[in-house]
Point group: none
Chain length 201, copies 2
DNA sequence: GATATTGGTTATCATTTGAAAACCTATCAT
DNA sequence: ATGATAGGTTTTCAAATGATAACCAATATC
């Protein structure tokens, strides 16, 4: 990130704190009040400078339209999906059961929770009923745990790409892998599993 | 939480999504636009209803002054502890590795994360390196997974209280339970495990 | 010395926005 | 039938808010 002046840092820190305390960003005048300056032009200039250097984005014309870079919100509210339908380019999520807030360091893009059904990943310590944190993406690396669409249903499998086929391997000795040879059939990767959460209470 | 109508649910979901996308809440008119209604009074009534039922708070007179319950306030920043020391009445936590934000529906009191070491709970699908969400309490119910102090170290075990002894059962066939007869020795329960989180990225 | 850059003042203006009044229309339980 | 409740329209108003103009001053930088 490009360097900023101490005054600009002051503005940035105030905005970040304000968002934490209130859940929404301050107005120009609220910032001005904190800086103990009158008028909004000085504030505008600071915001312009911070925007140019990539520290925030502004929604012009909109009150409180300040978006801090790297923290759409410090915590994101993640939908918990019961069913995932593979629509392209973005998978549509149906049956949103609930929402959970989670740390943004774990979240990018349209991440969502998917409730795991079945025991196909039991050897990876993923149980029926767990919540899989899924980051949508159409491709995967070997050994990634992915959500893939098979027969219109979303399943969790470990992903392997070989020379002439793709293998979706369950982590359950009693279950057979799904093998799709190149050119035969299609594997729709919905996303990669980046976390597992299991409420026990 | 008190029940709300489907229309009110629609408003609440829209606000939650808006905050996620933009980092700040919508105005009354933005909500009205989404509901495809003209005028702001209908929206005001929904917000009033939602506020009365505790789903949000409003900052009157302030634009975008909507604070969702379960966000700013109800998202807690939880310490991730590397080591737990059994001090009474509250266990002290040393070596705070990090902090994670998590939904408050899962959090009460001084809840904290503890990094799991070892495979003692492998059959309960808890792996080495997982983060156990621990709610501090000195007692437990049968079959609860608890954090207990044994030889000055915190371990995860399943808790059983029988007539004349307490048994701390590992969920690992290769490990022996710890049995403490009434009057002989002491079992210090640090807390109950109310969730498991495993980052995979 | 010329000239950016940063940070500021005061004042003004057009919009955006929250709030409210007056009134309408279903639905549902008493 | 008769309210209560949820949900809505149109209109209006005052306050909050972003934007901009005209201008000032200190501090670098070339």
């Amino acid at each position: 990130m490009q360097p900023i002046t101490s005054r600009q840092r002051e503005v940035l820190d105030y905005i970040a704190g304000f968002v934490d305390r209130n859940g929404y960003p301050p107005t120009l005048r609220e910032i001005a009040g904190h800086l103990k300056v009158s008028g909004t032009l000085g504030v505008m200039k600071h915001l312009d400078a911070l925007e140019q250097r990539g520290y925030l984005r502004r929604q012009s014309g909109s009150s409180r339209g300040i978006i801090l870079a790297g923290r759409t919100a410090q915590t994101a509210s993640i939908p918990v999906a019961g069913v995932v339908r593979a629509g392209l380019p973005q998978p549509a999520i149906e049956d949103i059961e609930d929402r959970l807030a989670i740390d943004c360091s774990l979240v990018k893009g349209g991440t969502f929770f998917l409730r795991v059904r079945g025991d196909s990943m039991i050897n990876a310590a993923v149980m029926d009923g767990d919540l899989a944190l899924v980051r949508p993406q159409a491709t995967a690396e070997n050994r990634d745990i992915v959500v893939a669409m098979v027969d219109g249903e979303a399943t969790l499998k470990r992903f392997y790409r070989c020379e002439d086929h793709i293998r979706l391997q369950p982590e359950n000795p009693g279950m057979e892998p799904i093998i799709v040879r190149n050119g035969e059939g299609e594997v729709a990767i919905v996303g990669k599993v980046v976390g597992i959460y299991r409420p026990l209470d």
